[in-house]
């Protein structure tokens, strides 16, 4: 759930694995809990379980590899131990080097600023602001919302130096773009996909979660704007 996959894919992949063992799987997914019932085809055995959905970072590699694994299980009728073995092999893969991610995010947000017609001074300011802000987000590991607020505050503060010093012609774009790396795009889009596919509750939960993060970003940016006060218009 947390690795950034939309709800109906989880349901389908699980049902697919269950079917390869001759069971039917029915599940209800909420943001924090999964309840699932397995039923054998002849209705002789029924198993139910409720478990907590772990929260974690978005990971598209799990998303695609696990989906491939579920098809493999379905097509080749893999035994359970092989399945577990492959599952652990996939989930223990290391993430990308955080420093590489760090630099790439900096460039990404800078080119974002360029797409909004910011001038090169604004682009440079956004680059620096993003590097600092994103590093803060990588280092701090306590409350999610608090980290987002701080990160947004620091990034927008650095970008607002351009406004304060009257560097360049588009400081407003620099401030606006400096916090965009925080926008939770994946849950926003997944939430809409979920709602369209009929998982309205799960989708709404995702959207509300994303909305809370956006409010945090806005709050962090708001602190900067208040500090800069009347100079901003």
């Amino acid at each position: 759930m947390a690795s950034g996959v939309h709800t109906s894919r989880i349901v389908r992949n699980t049902a697919r694995i269950a079917e390869s063992f001759g069971f039917e799987a029915h599940m209800t997914l909420f943001h924090k809990t999964i309840s699932m019932t397995l039923r054998s085809k002849d209705n002789a055995h029924v198993y139910s379980t409720v478990s907590t959905a772990k929260s974690g970072a978005i990971n598209f590699e799990f998303n695609s590899e696990l989906s491939a694994l579920s098809w493999e299980a379905y097509d080749n009728h893999l035994p359970l131990d092989t399945l577990w073995e492959k599952f652990h092999a996939i989930t223990s893969k290391p993430r990308m080097n955080p420093w590489a991610v760090w630099i790439l995010v900096g460039f990404a947000n800078a080119s974002f600023c360029r797409l909004f017609n910011g001038d090169w001074i604004a682009v440079a300011a956004v680059f620096v602001a993003t590097l600092v802000g994103f590093r803060i987000k990588q280092i701090l590991h306590f409350n999610h919302y608090f980290v987002f607020t701080i990160s947004a505050f620091v990034a927008s503060l650095i970008a607002s130096i351009t406004m304060w010093q009257h560097w360049g012609t588009t400081p407003d774009i620099a401030i606006g773009a400096s916090v965009l790396y925080l926008i939770p795009g994946v849950p926003l889009i997944n939430g809409i996909i979920d709602i369209i596919e009929g998982h309205v509750l799960a989708g709404t939960a995702r959207l509300i979660n994303a909305l809370l993060l956006i409010v945090c970003i806005a709050f962090g940016m708001g602190i900067t704007l208040l500090m800069m006060g009347g100079k901003l218009l």
Binding site: L104, A108, I192, M221
Partner: protein, 173 residues
């Protein structure tokens, strides 16, 4: 006759979108082989939107819808080639089109609105800004999500068996 200035601005736009997509894609740790394709999709999608906005006179939401629809279509084809679910490709490709600037302006005007006590003219101005930018943000987000999902509904069967190894030799689900 090709207008080089138009072409240049479109290419600059595409490159910017591609870099942005790579950066935002790596946050969510995709499979390596997907990154390049996601960047390509983002470049195509964003330049489609750019052209529609600039030269076809469409509004932001409809242009985003068309761009998201083409990204969704292409992500199905690309996902089939490189053995990835389409969502892994199109979500990073959509990210550069998320209307962050409008979201920012909504919040910004909200703060200014709260500060404009006692001055009704100013308050009305910022109220208008809040609604203008807020509605744009919401409608663009919605059209991005819907536009990219429609191709998946059209090719329902195929979209969900893309990572299936057994499909490869037969070339069709």
């Amino acid at each position: 006759m090709i207008d080089w200035q138009i072409l240049g601005s479109v290419i600059a736009d595409a490159i910017g979108a591609a870099i942005a997509a790579i950066g935002f894609a790596v946050i969510s740790n995709p499979p390596r082989r997907a990154i390049l394709y996601a960047a390509l999709l983002a470049a195509v999608g964003h330049s489609i939107r750019f052209v529609l906005l600039k030269y076809a006179g469409l509004d932001l939401a409809s242009a985003s819808f068309v761009a998201a629809f083409s990204i969704g279509m292409l992500s199905l084809a690309a996902g089939y080639r490189i053995f990835c679910p389409a969502t892994v490709l199109y979500i990073p490709a959509l990210l550069p089109m998320i209307p962050g600037m409008y979201a920012y302006r909504t919040v910004f005007s909200l703060i200014r609105f709260l500060q404009s006590s006692g001055n009704d003219n100013e308050a009305i101005h910022y109220l208008l800004e809040i609604f203008k930018n807020g509605i744009t943000t919401a409608s663009v987000l919605f059209s991005l999500g819907v536009g990219a999902t429609i191709p998946i509904f059209i090719f329902y069967k195929r979209a969900f068996s893309m990572t299936r190894a057994a499909n490869r030799p037969k070339r069709q689900a």
